[in-house]
């Protein structure tokens, strides 16, 4: 099997699954009905993207595992998602801030990925960017609304942006898998997206009367399977049904 391509796709799939799982936790708990629906829809987009990616990973692996087995039956250290995506939802400001910073990155990343020399990856990117565009607009609207809102909403979104900022560096990290993927014709040099990302999010933050945090040290580890203490709890809920009733069918 093409281990490099499998690993590359698995990272994308795990990112989509984990943020999809987090967002789905808002279902029935949104601050207003419209937001409940918006976050559930966004979650659905990610779960759909994850399904497409895991299917492809399973096909590359051809080891008899299907997309569900890869999604649900692995151990914590086998997941390769970004740490910021597994952090608990916090309040609505925290969820919004994460969605904003991550969607802005994904928009830039998918734009590049839609041009790579791999039919599946470019197709996935061209499809998913249309969805991410809506996520980004939705999150940007709320960053502006909260930042330029009341004293309380301003404080909450500002705190959230500050908290997540120290996790954003991991999005642009390039390791061996990324470099080999570029050599193989389907990687994206994420490090070069950092500048554009910063100016993109800064523009919205300024409009929202929010301070742009200083760059500094970033949490990392997700890409090598070293997770935060929150990941185990997330997986316990995510995997419960498949672990309790292996092979369950609807």
């Amino acid at each position: 099997m093409d281990k490099l391509k499998f690993d590359y796709i698995l990272r994308l799939a795990d990112d989509a699954l984990i943020i999809g799982q987090r967002l789905s936790e808002w279902c029935g708990h949104g601050p207003v009905l419209e937001e409940d629906i918006a976050l559930s829809n966004t979650s659905l987009d990610y779960i759909g993207q994850a399904t497409n990616l895991y299917k492809q990973a399973a096909a590359i692996e051809s080891a008899g595992r299907d997309e569900d087995a890869i999604a649900f039956m692995r151990e914590e250290s086998e997941y390769r998602n970004l740490l910021m995506l597994e952090l608990p939802n916090g309040d609505y400001a925290f969820t919004t801030a994460r969605q904003f910073l991550y969607s802005a990155f994904m928009h830039l990343y998918l734009e590049k990925l839609s041009n790579v020399q791999d039919e599946f990856l470019s197709g996935y990117a061209a499809k998913s960017i249309k969805e991410v565009r809506y996520h980004l607009q939705h999150a940007s609207d709320w960053v502006r609304r909260m930042g330029d809102g009341t004293e309380e909403s301003h404080k909450r979104i500002q705190d959230a942006i500050k908290q997540i900022w120290s996790y954003t560096g991991e999005m642009f990290l390039m390791d061996e898998t990324d470099r080999n993927a570029i050599a193989a014709g389907y990687g994206v040099d994420k490090a070069t997206l950092a500048g554009e990302w910063k100016s993109m999010v800064s523009e919205v933050l300024k409009e929202a009367t929010l301070e742009i945090p200083a760059d500094g040290w970033s949490h990392t580890g997700g890409r090598s399977g070293k997770h935060t203490e929150h990941m185990g709890f997330l997986l316990a809920e995510l995997q419960y049904l498949q672990r309790a009733y292996p092979g369950a069918k609807w």
């Binding site: 918006a38 659905l44 993207q49 980004l136």
Partner: protein, 164 residues
């Protein structure tokens, strides 16, 4: 062995499959069915999802299987493709008129663009009274493919089929 049907017949059959979430439109006019190939002894039907996570895809697949079984076809494959990515621009004028009649504002043509990122306000016509005095209540509506709007003239809320 039975004679295989002509491709245009299979396309015709596909128009009998309706989208479970927008039951006024069939999967051909929505652009979900991308390709029909009639081979020596089997039929390949290629479909594409509107959104990556569209929950209607499974039902649509089941409905396609049912129609084919009804027509006496037992050897077929339903394939899924992601590219080219589905766009509302594939929707026919007839389909747009049907949406409008159903109270769903149809997607604007050729507008799957980046303007959205900048928060540009769309001019969406109320499907009930025709007024342009409408505003968006929520970017995400009753299904992944719709936004929720409200008309300031007739005061009715309505769905707008999002452009992608």
């Amino acid at each position: 062995m039975n004679q295989m049907p002509a491709e245009e017949h299979v396309w015709q059959w596909m128009t009998e499959v309706y989208d479970p979430e927008i039951p006024v439109l069939n999967v051909v006019e929505l652009g979900i069915v991308r390709k029909v190939s009639v081979n020596a002894s089997s039929i390949d039907i290629t479909i594409t999802p509107t959104y990556s996570g569209c929950p209607a895809m499974r039902t649509i697949e089941e409905d396609i299987k049912e129609i084919l079984a009804e027509k006496g076809i037992s050897d077929f494959n339903i394939l899924t493709t992601l590219s080219p990515p589905w766009t509302t621009d594939w929707m026919t004028d007839e389909a747009r008129a049907k949406l409008q009649a159903e109270g769903i504002a149809p997607p604007q043509k050729g507008s799957a663009d980046k303007g959205l990122l900048m928060g540009r306000v769309r001019d969406v016509k109320c499907p009930r009274c025709g007024s342009h005095e409408t505003y968006m209540i929520s970017q995400f509506g009753s299904t992944a493919c719709k936004s929720l709007y409200k008309c300031s003239s007739c005061l009715e809320p309505f769905d707008y089929f999002k452009c992608i």
